[in-house]
């Protein structure tokens, strides 16, 4: 009843391969975009922006990045935290060295630098596969965190070892530093999210995406039918690290403002983003959003229920969070390995027929 598809067909290949071939989906997408861009900025305040929207937007970019590497190309990486750190520290060095250059350019440059680092640490993927590769990426994770901790050049020789984002504006409005406005930081990050999702969608639907998926599904066959595994894997690392670097830069400069690398970008961060794409759905852009939303909302929801409503002490709620997240990972892996994205797809299939059973 919701999905009226009668008469809704494609007459050309470009039409057939668009992102939302069903009209209903497309209009819903436009509505979401409209709400996000036009409506939310009026209602947003500091609390919501910092506890929900900014982390969601920024983790969504990181999840998209990791999903490209893990979900589309099948190369498991546990180094996400370290790569986010590269983005953050690159952004910091760029912000302090080039105070007059626009933040947008600096964030993009941070992404590019991270892409380069990603390619270097991705080189072992040519010899090492699957699970062994995951472990090898841990080398990147630990090494990078150590690097940003121990080499003072990275934190401009400050005594505390912390890095803080100086004030920056975008079109005259503060987006970093102590005096930002909620709607400004929100829109700034939203801009990057929309662009990232757009680029990621295009890359994954074309020949690049097919090369990645071929490598993921059967890399030997992929090579025999003409895919250059070196280039495919390294571009996956590069593109993935680009997005993860951007998210790291935004995480530092816009969201947190100040960062100590061991606390913020440790292995827990790598697992968090990995959990996001598992729960959200591997190999799905929508899944990256769903997973990010889920894992950002969950601790907030738990805190509201556990601490505010039930009056339990915060450490119990924190422990419960571990139990629930861990348990959910297991449940999803057993019951729905394709994550929330698959549940969503199944729901939509049912909606196409509703209220009829078949």
């Amino acid at each position: 009843m919701f999905y009226r598809e009668a008469g809704d067909f494609s007459t050309s290949y470009p039409e057939d391969s668009q992102t939302f071939p069903i009209k209903f989906d497309r209009y819903r997408y436009y509505l979401v975009l409209f709400t996000a861009i036009v409506i939310i900025p009026f209602f947003i305040n500091d609390y919501w922006v910092n506890s929900l929207f900014l982390p969601f937007l920024i983790y969504a970019i990181a999840a998209i990045g990791l999903n490209i590497l893990v979900g589309y190309c099948g190369q498991v990486s546990l180094g996400t935290g370290g790569f986010m750190a590269v983005g953050a520290y690159a952004c910091y060095k760029l912000m302090t060295s080039f105070p007059d250059v626009s933040m947008v350019i600096l964030v993009l440059l941070s992404g590019l630098i991270t892409a380069l680092v990603g390619v270097i640490f991705g080189l072992p993927s040519l010899r090492i596969k699957g699970f062994y590769l995951a472990v090898a990426t841990l080398a990147a994770q630990f090494f990078l965190v150590w690097l940003f901790n121990r080499v003072p050049w990275f934190y401009n020789y400050s005594a505390s070892g912390q890095i803080s984002a100086p004030e920056r504006t975008f079109f005259g409005i503060e987006i970093s530093g102590p005096n930002t406005q909620a709607w400004a930081t929100y829109l700034f990050c939203l801009m990057f999210v929309i662009a990232s999702a757009y680029v990621a969608r295009n890359l994954t639907r074309g020949s690049m995406g097919r090369k990645w998926m071929a490598i993921r599904d059967m890399d030997i066959a992929a090579e025999i039918i003409g895919v250059n595994p070196l280039r495919a894997k390294l571009t996956a690392f590069a593109v993935s690290s680009f997005f993860i670097g951007i998210s790291g830069a935004l995480f530092f400069a816009i969201y947190l403002g100040a960062v100590e690398v061991g606390e913020v970008f440790g292995i827990q961060k790598s697992f968090l983003v990995l959990f996001m794409i598992i729960i959200g759905g591997l190999g799905s852009i929508f899944g990256s959003f769903a997973g990010a939303a889920f894992l950002v909302l969950l601790p907030v929801a738990l805190k509201i229920v556990g601490v505010d409503w039930l009056g339990w002490p915060t450490d119990i709620v924190a422990h419960l969070q571990l139990v629930i997240v861990g348990g959910l990972i297991i449940v999803f892996l057993i019951a729905e390995p394709h994550g929330l994205a698959q549940l969503w797809r199944v729901a939509k299939e049912k909606l196409r027929l509703w209220p009829f059973p078949h």
Binding site: Y13, I224, G226
Partner: protein, 272 residues
């Protein structure tokens, strides 16, 4: 059979060209085991060449040597009149050699259409920048290649399942999709590794028809490994017989069938 270097015309009017690929003294070893022992044979442009032999004879390994996946310890592969330098499998593919696999090697995470489109990958050259914007160059290239893929899909009559994930297909359909993927590359040489394996009579007739049509319409040279003797006799122009890594027969199906060595090694068993 005529021995003209430049080719000949078969009894039913098909054009067979000069030698396009030649295996010269190929020897392949795995550790201590010699899978292929000093084998030489050639393949002519436009012909259907069968490679037969008992299980374990080394036929799949030979196909793997041709596709560049195995590098022989001894011997040379000559392609289009020139010695082929050792190269990676994907470079071999780019030279116009496509194949199917004994145990289906489809990309199970993708749909039929996407799998067939992966066959076009050697042809799609737009850079990352254009792909990330999609509109313009990338979309045009995608549409052009989609047209080629759809032609193949029509040819093999799998239109109805083009958006189905291949993991859900039956064995026979998967084999057909794999053939589609190989054909999508518009190869000069098509290698088929037991394309009829596990099929019933009807499916075999369909597959035989497709193979003949491919050779007839597109002029594709075909080398196939096959166990069904009826198929081999009906389809192929020439046959190579292998046993325990050695070549024990080479000629037309008729010549090979009457070769005593071949009969001893292999053809004593009745096939359907």
């Amino acid at each position: 059979m005529n021995d003209l270097a430049d080719g000949y015309v078969t009894a039913d009017g098909r054009q067979i060209g000069p030698v396009v690929m030649e295996m010269k003294n190929i020897t392949l070893r795995f550790g201590g085991v010699e899978a292929i022992k000093d084998i030489s044979f050639d393949i002519r442009q436009g012909e259907i060449r069968a490679i037969i032999g008992p299980n374990g004879a080394g036929k799949s390994s030979m196909l793997n040597v041709i596709s560049g996946f195995y590098v022989p310890q001894d011997g040379e592969v000559w392609y289009q009149g020139r010695r082929r330098a050792p190269m990676k499998p994907y470079e071999v593919a780019q030279q116009g050699i496509a194949r199917t696999f004994q145990n289906i090697a489809l990309f199970e995470g993708m749909s039929v259409l996407d799998n067939v489109m992966t066959g076009r990958l050697t042809n799609m050259k737009t850079g990352m920048f254009w792909q990330s914007i999609w509109k313009g160059k990338a979309e045009r290239e995608e549409t052009e290649n989609r047209e080629v893929a759809e032609k193949i899909i029509d040819f093999l009559e799998i239109q109805a399942i083009r958006k189905t994930p291949v993991s859900r297909l039956s064995y026979g359909l998967k084999k057909r999709v794999e053939l589609a993927r190989a054909l999508a590359a518009e190869p000069s040489i098509l290698l088929l590794d037991e394309p009829m394996a596990g099929m019933n009579v009807e499916e075999k007739e369909d597959m035989s028809r497709f193979i003949l049509d491919v050779n007839d319409e597109f002029g594709t040279t075909i080398a196939l490994i096959e166990h069904d003797m009826g198929v081999v006799m009906d389809l192929s122009d020439r046959v190579v017989v292998m046993d325990y890594g050695k070549k024990i027969g080479d000629g037309t199906p008729h010549e090979v069938r009457n070769n005593q060595d071949v009969i001893d090694a292999y053809l004593g068993v009745a096939h359907d």
